[in-house]
């Protein structure tokens, strides 16, 4: 494989790609305003501020706290289109952070599949109990991360040989004759 062509599509992170996140932020702020009015504007500004200071993960966490708080404060129902628009905006924010560098197709697929799978899992489980849904979500995420970790170790050949190789001389296959026995 040509190594040059292999990495040619991997330029270092540039500022242009942050426009995806900015677009997602504008969209979710708009949805915040449409759904909750002035309270939504505050929630949108808060989310954008945290994004600019601490990055996407903290913005997603704080934005969701603001979203749930706004729902409780205004009494707006969860099934409102604007509320789902906010949620889609958060999803765009995550996708934007992953796409800060041009991502290969597999990475896009992994991100999209993970998002859909976890969202579906939450949707499926939350009807029983929020506590169960939270536990299941955390466990599934941990297992998925560990699976990727093990896959990486095997794919890169970083698994220690001592885990599988015989430790003592008696563990060696005695059927193989030594050079002295069979010169």
């Amino acid at each position: 494989m040509d190594n040059h062509s292999l990495v040619a599509d991997l330029p270092i992170e540039t500022a242009e790609y942050r426009w995806v996140e900015i677009g997602a932020l504008l969209g979710l702020s708009l949805c915040f305003w449409l759904a909750f009015g002035a309270v939504g504007v505050v929630a949108g500004v808060l989310t954008a501020g945290v994004w600019s200071l601490f990055g996407v993960p903290y913005a997603v966490a704080v934005g969701h706290v603001a979203l749930v708080s706004s729902l409780a404060a205004t009494g707006v129902g969860t099934m409102t289109l604007a509320v789902w628009g906010v949620e889609v905006g958060f999803g765009g924010l995550v996708l934007g952070s992953v796409a800060r560098r041009p991502a290969p197709v597999t990475l896009t697929v992994v991100t999209a599949a993970s998002t859909l799978a976890l969202a579906g899992l939450v949707w499926a489980v939350q009807s029983r109990s929020v506590t169960v849904a939270a536990g299941v979500t955390v466990v599934v995420i941990a297992l998925a991360c560990y699976s990727v970790h093990r896959y990486q170790l095997v794919a890169l050949g970083l698994v220690s040989e001592t885990e599988n190789s015989p430790r003592s001389e008696t563990d060696y296959d005695e059927s193989v004759s030594s050079p002295r026995e069979n010169p």
Partner: protein, 504 residues
């Protein structure tokens, strides 16, 4: 793949959103948990992809400047990496052998490769205090994207060969030609009592009647005597000159080191043949050690140990620095860090030494006094010409079969000639092993031009000694240096030194 502290923070944030979902009892909060989980998985997968690409394009080389060196010498190792631009930040830690010491700060022993860089290199000075064959480990590459990090072992593992400071190739010979000094079985023109039958001869009046071989007499009808090969041994006295003049040469390759090497081989040879061997060590002011002939295993061990520990007697030399030592074997290493390197004023040192010699009551004198008095003893003080005087003390007691091996140098040729004459007075054989000063002088290239002439002069001197009856004179020195000296004069290379001497 290990998470960084920043990623642990994101993980904690994910757990917090799940906990808040339970606290608020609102499933929409789990959307944050799911999105953060997605974010972690996506970044984890991207790190794996970047790492895989980087690993396939990365090459790390660890190239020692010299692969063969001596203990205590310093060399450099160049660590060079090349790779296609990668978003990962790399830190390359060379796999220096455990027995080596980097001469720079730990931070500068690593190579940092920034994201987007195509490589870099760094040079690390390295000291090798331990002799042996040291193999590098693979270089360890620490790769990180800020969220995850991984260690990879990459690159070749070169080998560093470190030799101890000792004579590498000892030349013993004459006129540049090697000669073996290791002894074989001794020949004798006499027959007598022993175990190995030699011959049968007819009885002659005067023969001891106990020596008649009655079976041979019965078989041959006349009285016969059976002769046996006598059991012989050759008492060997090794005279080792360890005066200050023998301290010439690079560290670990001084004249004394070469002389010691040959003397040790003589001891081994004597032990193999069961010959009694004795030792006479001569320092600047007389005899520092005398061991009479003996064949006990302990005697050989004692002599070997003494030779190993032997150091030049008190004296100074220029060139590679000053080395101070006392008479006899010194247990002190030749290079002890800190010792002899303190900035002590000469006056202070002299006062301390005087107090030490007079047995003062200061803490310094009380502590070092016993050791100093023990190390300053000479068995026999000889004021003028110690080598000749020392040999004279042992010549009286020697027999005609004895062999004296005189290990010295040619710094004082007149005195050496006189010493050899004294050694011959008892009629025994003398083997003179001489280290030519020309092979040990650190000379400038211009002076090297004259080295051939100096060597020819030495060869004339050696041949003069060799012509004495019962005397064998051989040269001892570094083979490589001798070849260099012989090659300095191409115009005379067609005429060997020995030939030049004979022509003269």
């Amino acid at each position: 793949m290990r998470p960084t502290r920043q990623l642990w923070g994101i993980g904690l944030l994910t757990l917090s959103t799940a906990a808040l979902a339970v606290v608020f009892s609102h499933p929409l909060m789990l959307g944050a948990t799911a999105l953060l989980g997605t974010w972690i998985l996506a970044h984890q997968y991207r790190f794996y992809r970047d790492l895989d690409r980087m690993r396939r394009t990365l090459s790390v080389e660890q190239t020692p400047d010299r692969t063969g060196l001596r203990t205590g010498e310093t060399t450099t190792v160049t660590v060079r990496t090349t790779l296609e631009p990668s978003p990962l930040s790399l830190t390359v830690v060379p796999g220096l052998p455990t027995a080596t010491v980097a001469q720079s700060e730990s931070r500068s022993t690593t190579l940092e490769v920034d994201p987007g860089s195509t490589g870099g290199s760094t040079t690390i000075p390295l000291e090798c205090p331990v002799a042996g064959r040291h193999q590098f480990d693979q270089a360890t590459v620490l790769a990180t994207d800020g969220w995850f990090r991984e260690e990879l072992d990459i690159g070749p593992t070169p080998t560093l060969t470190v030799d101890a400071r000792a004579p590498r190739e000892v030349h013993v010979g004459s006129g540049g030609d090697p000669v073996s000094v290791v002894q074989g079985q001794h020949t004798t023109s006499h027959s007598g009592s022993g175990l190995t039958p030699a011959e049968l001869r007819e009885y002659v009046p005067g023969d001891n009647i106990d020596r008649i071989d009655w079976k041979a007499t019965a078989r041959l009808a006349t009285v016969h005597i059976r002769e046996y090969e006598p059991e012989t041994d050759q008492p060997t006295t090794i005279v080792v000159d360890h005066r200050a003049a023998l301290d010439a040469g690079p560290d670990g390759e001084t004249k004394l080191d070469y002389v010691r090497d040959v003397a040790l081989s003589m001891v081994v040879s004597a032990r193999r043949l069961g010959d009694p061997v004795g030792l006479l060590a001569v320092g600047n002011d007389g005899i520092t050690e005398r061991m009479d002939h003996a064949t006990e295993p302990a005697q050989y061990r004692r002599i070997r140990q003494y030779l190993f520990d032997l150091e030049p007697t008190l004296g100074s030399r220029s060139g590679n620095g000053t080395r101070n030592s006392t008479s006899g074997p010194s247990r002190q290493p030749a290079h002890t860090p800190g010792v002899g390197q303190n900035d002590i004023a000469p006056t202070t040192a002299r006062v301390a030494l005087r107090e030490l010699e007079s047995g003062g009551h200061s803490a310094f004198s009380r502590t070092l006094g016993p050791f100093y008095r023990h190390r300053q003893t000479y068995r026999t003080d000889i004021e003028s010409e110690p080598l000749r005087g020392a040999i004279r003390t042992v010549v009286r007691r020697r027999n005609r079969r004895a062999l004296m091996v005189l290990c010295t140098d040619d710094s004082d040729r007149v005195a050496l000639t006189e010493a050899v004459h004294v050694a011959r007075t008892g009629g025994s054989r003398v083997l003179v092993l001489i280290t030519p000063s020309v092979l040990f002088d650190a000379e400038s290239p211009a002076a090297l031009e004259e080295s051939f002439d100096r060597y020819v002069a030495f060869e004339e001197f050696r041949r003069k000694l060799d012509r004495l009856e019962g005397v064998t004179a051989l040269e001892v020195g570094p083979r490589e240096q001798l070849a260099t000296v012989l090659a300095t004069d191409h115009s005379r290379s067609s005429v060997s030194p020995s030939r030049g001497v004979s022509d003269g």
